[in-house]
């Protein structure tokens, strides 16, 4: 066998990989996370997003305020936290007015809105994962999330999935 043939057969195909831990649940940070995720997926990266704590709000089926979760306190928390459409901005939220202003400006300036980015992420088959521990605290089930959520994971599995790529905490 020629050296060139050996190289062809033994060289592993390295797929570039980006894994994002979506923690904050803030509108602006979700925009950053989904911009990176969709951009990376569009240029051929394998992309994983691991939603934990406040980040879980972004993948709830009910995008507004709803009593999601099991038990009195989780339901109450679920209501105040809301879903993707109720995400606050991390600075100058002005009681929820700022996300509305941002959505208006993004549409006006032809920049993808958060909802469009989420839809693009689904179309590009970005892998969405939910954190088992945070779900347990907040009384959430996999059925409370959009069906594109691939699996419910713990830290060990996430580390396994993200190994060999870049990882961001947003």
């Amino acid at each position: 066998m020629e050296t060139a043939d050996i190289l062809k057969t033994t060289q592993p195909i390295v797929q570039k990989k980006l894994s994002i831990i979506s923690f904050s649940g803030d509108f602006d940070k979700l925009v950053a996370a989904f911009t990176l995720a969709t951009g990376a997926a569009a240029v051929g990266y394998e992309v994983n997003i691991f939603f934990t704590f406040w980040g879980l709000d972004a993948i709830k089926k009910k995008q507004g305020r709803a009593f999601v979760g099991t038990g009195f306190l989780p339901k109450l928390f679920g209501f105040f936290m809301g879903g993707l459409r109720s995400a606050p901005v991390s600075r100058l939220n002005f009681c929820g007015l700022s996300p509305k202003i941002f959505r208006y400006l993004m549409r006006k300036k032809n920049v993808a809105t958060l909802e469009e980015l989420v839809e693009a992420a689904k179309a590009l088959e970005v892998n969405l994962y939910a954190c088992e521990m945070a779900m347990h605290i907040l009384g959430l089930q996999k059925s409370d999330f959009i069906h594109e959520v691939k699996d419910v994971l713990g830290v060990a599995t996430f580390l396994d999935i993200s190994e060999g790529g870049r990882t961001l905490f947003i």
């Binding site: 911009t35 951009g39 997926a41 569009a42 240029v43 032809n110 920049v111 993808a112 179309a123 590009l124």
Partner: protein, 74 residues
């Protein structure tokens, strides 16, 4: 073999190459995507990222003003 047109002249990062990738994923092998885009980031990145993913960039031509046309074969 068919040609599909995509206008991303009004789009911004990352939707320029996101929309291109989604459009390409819907095509059959051998189909051509005709992309209209503007100078700068889209003109630099759309042909490059398409090539990197194994698509064939057949042509990059100037249309008018800042608008360019890129032909990509799946």
């Amino acid at each position: 073999m068919s040609t599909v047109k995509l206008d991303i002249t009004k789009e911004h990062c990352p939707m320029t190459f996101v929309k291109t990738k989604i459009a390409l994923s819907k095509l059959q092998s051998g189909d051509i995507l005709e992309v209209l885009l503007v100078e700068g980031e889209p003109l630099q990145n759309v042909p490059r990222s398409s090539r990197e993913q194994g698509f064939k960039v057949l042509e990059v031509s100037h249309v008018e003003g800042q608008i360019h046309k890129v032909l990509i074969e799946k």
